[in-house]
Subunit: 282 residues, 2 copies
């Protein structure tokens, strides 16, 4: 039997149960005894921020993350201004929801643009411009390095080391890093980088790297235990770095999305208890 204490740090990222609306996902978390939920802006819009805040406050759930801000890499000044406005709005939402972090995805190369270095510099500069606003709102920005499989079209920040190089220019209360096993499980020296990150780890997201990779690489993530990630070792490293926050399950996968969300949540709890929870003591 699962006890509430055993899953108190487990969080359901809404993307794992994409069929559920926010009210349904909140109820699912309550029913399973989870401690937190990771909320997506796209689904927040459906219920509105005020209603979402009421819903979450009434549920007793923590908001382990708001997904997501970012997409900073455009070279067009007007588009960059639009992105900044959208990110400020996301910061306001994260503040209202009292989210542990606003997850930032850097964005990919603009259409036809091959200057990766310049795109990375634009992402870094855009984060710098956001910091005062986030600070004012008491929101911690979380830079999420993404698997190099997405370097061209989604996220030009590719390693935890690179994310930390940016984050360390700021106060840890203002800018941290999001550690997702799918994105960084392969990174040489990842244990050292997790130690280096220490209290900058603002979110620990879990899902597996599966092979063969599904045809749509955006949906290439697997349930913990179905792939190649060593969750025991990785989780111990995260714990050793001092991370005390929630463990958020975020899985983009067409097969899981086709399954009944409650069953997915059951399986996720089972795998978490089997593969992750025992290693949280470090």
């Amino acid at each position: 039997m699962t006890t509430r204490a055993e899953v108190s740090r487990l969080s359901l990222n809404q993307r794992t149960t994409a069929l559920w609306s926010l009210p349904e996902a909140v109820q699912g978390c309550i029913d399973a005894g989870l401690g937190a939920i990771g909320i997506w802006r796209e689904q927040l819009v459906e219920v509105g921020l005020d209603e979402a805040c009421r819903l979450v406050a009434g549920s007793g759930l923590r908001v382990s993350s708001l997904c997501r801000g970012g997409f900073f890499t455009t070279a067009d000044p007007a588009e960059a201004q639009g992105a900044e406005a959208s990110n400020r709005e996301a910061i306001d939402e994260a503040s209202a929801l009292n989210a542990a972090t606003l997850v930032l995805v850097a964005g990919g190369l603009p259409q036809g643009d091959r200057d990766l270095k310049a795109a990375r510099e634009r992402a870094s500069a855009a984060i710098e411009r956001l910091v005062p606003y986030a600070q004012e709102a008491e929101v911690t920005l979380g830079i999420e390095p993404m698997n190099p499989i997405y370097a061209a079209d989604r996220g030009v920040i590719s390693t935890l080391a690179q994310a930390l190089d940016i984050a360390e220019r700021f106060d840890p209360a203002d800018v941290g890093v999001v550690v997702d096993t799918f994105h960084v499980w392969w990174e040489p020296g990842i244990e050292d980088q997790l130690q280096r990150a220490g209290d900058r780890i603002v979110s620990y997201q879990i899902c597996d790297w599966i092979t063969p990779l599904p045809a749509d690489t955006l949906l290439a993530r697997g349930m913990m235990g179905d792939g190649h990630v060593d969750f025991a070792a990785f989780t111990r490293s995260v714990a050793l770095a001092g991370y005390q926050g929630d463990i958020e399950v975020e899985i983009f996968n067409a097969d899981l999305w086709a399954a009944p969300p409650a069953k997915v949540l059951d399986q996720m709890v089972e795998r978490y208890l089997d593969l992750v929870q025992p290693h949280l003591a470090g």
Copy 2:
């Protein structure tokens, strides 16, 4: 008009024209005025080593690489012994062909094994065991870091930095690195790593990173210019590092394999002259 001098450093890796036998590929290179060929062991077997040596010597082509040795990550002692024997044979072949390098692909995680760190250590130890034999045969081993997309199932050495950490334990005449744009184009600080590599770069392989990624990720590579790699900047960095060797086009792609090989070779020459050759002066 293409002059022989302009393509004198261009090499056709056999995998780009998979339909061609070795004699056909050699003739294709001669017809196009190329200076070198990259040979695959699988296709070498079809003609035999002696005949291949005669063929290559008669053609005047350099052998820019023999592909490939490696696959070092098994945890089974008998299998590891088999891999070592196969690698010694590959060294003998590389020596007989006077290949610039024997390309080493580390290998992936063994079935059901999630200990990436241990697999990496086994790869590194296996390379160390091979060095004396390679030294004796005057063959330079070339460690090829592979895109993290292959970290689980093909190559656990994921960055040029990581490959150099291993290579630098040995004399540059014995162990170098293979730089393939597809594998490392995204690596943060790649320019610095190429400078660090210097005369350890024993092979410069080119092909493009295309999106969306084809369903079979093993065949996900594109013709130069079809994707996101900045060949001008990358080639200048390779040249600046002091690389004087051949530039080998290695493209695994189902569409290209279905096309007439001579047409693929024509297109590859055209793209090389357009995107790569002008930047070889650094």
